[in-house]
């Protein structure tokens, strides 16, 4: 039974490593900043959350040692990783990094132009 649980937690960690390798493939293959940001800020976050959960459960159930620092790191990463993704993407847009040339439309540009026209009136 304990051996089964050990294997289960190890597979959880392996799943997290697979998700982080998926985000690495995304960061190389995708064409522009925004799509890369999309790939990375989701799958890398889920991967590290899975790894931290596996670590916490391993030390809690197998070793009988409960440590809430891992859970604190879990919650902190879950809160801050999308925020940092958003900040990077906004900084990229405001410093005028171009979109992929095949992307269909850019709603934010129209909105900025409209705001400027309203300002000038």
């Amino acid at each position: 039974m304990t051996e089964m649980l050990k294997i289960l937690f190890a597979v959880m960690i392996l799943f997290g490593a697979l998700l982080s390798i998926l985000s690495a493939i995304g960061i190389v293959r995708l064409p522009d900043v925004y799509t890369r940001n999309h790939a990375v800020s989701k799958s890398a976050t889920l991967g590290v959350l899975s790894i931290l959960l596996g670590t916490f459960l391993y030390f809690w159930i197998i070793e009988g040692y409960m440590n809430f620092r891992v859970i604190l790191g879990f919650v902190f990463l879950f809160m801050t990783s999308p925020v940092s993704g958003h900040l990077i993407s906004r900084a990229a847009y405001n410093s005028k990094v171009p979109l992929w040339e095949k992307s269909a439309r850019d709603d934010l540009k129209d909105k900025e132009k409209l705001a400027k026209e309203n300002m000038s009136q």
Binding site: F9, I13, V28, V33, A44, V48, T55
Partner: protein, 95 residues
């Protein structure tokens, strides 16, 4: 068995870190590089967690929390620097 799975996971993470370093070197804009550094920090957190399971040692849990906080603060500082040119803004003087 569990050691084998952990070693395989470490190998995957190492591959992911090298691929991210490729984007860090090549990336055309500065935002790509900041993104790559952010992902690098997250991958290092995963590596420390896997290593603490591998060694069956609970002494590395502070490192996880610390790297998470430092990586977030660094990302915020770089993003603000790219967007506005300064990290900490001065108080506006009354004119």
């Amino acid at each position: 068995m569990i050691k084998t799975i952990l070693i395989i996971s470490m190998a995957f993470l190492t591959f992911a870190i090298f691929v991210t370093i490729y984007r860090l070197v090549k990336g055309p804009s500065a935002s790509d590089r900041i993104q790559a550094l952010d992902v690098l920090g997250i991958n290092i957190i995963s590596g420390v967690a896997i290593f603490s399971v591998f060694l069956r040692n609970t002494g590395f849990f502070e490192v996880i929390l610390l790297i998470g906080i430092l990586s977030f603060i660094g990302t915020i500082a770089f993003a603000r620097f790219i967007e506005r040119g300064v990290v900490i803004e001065r108080r506006k003087q009354s004119d």
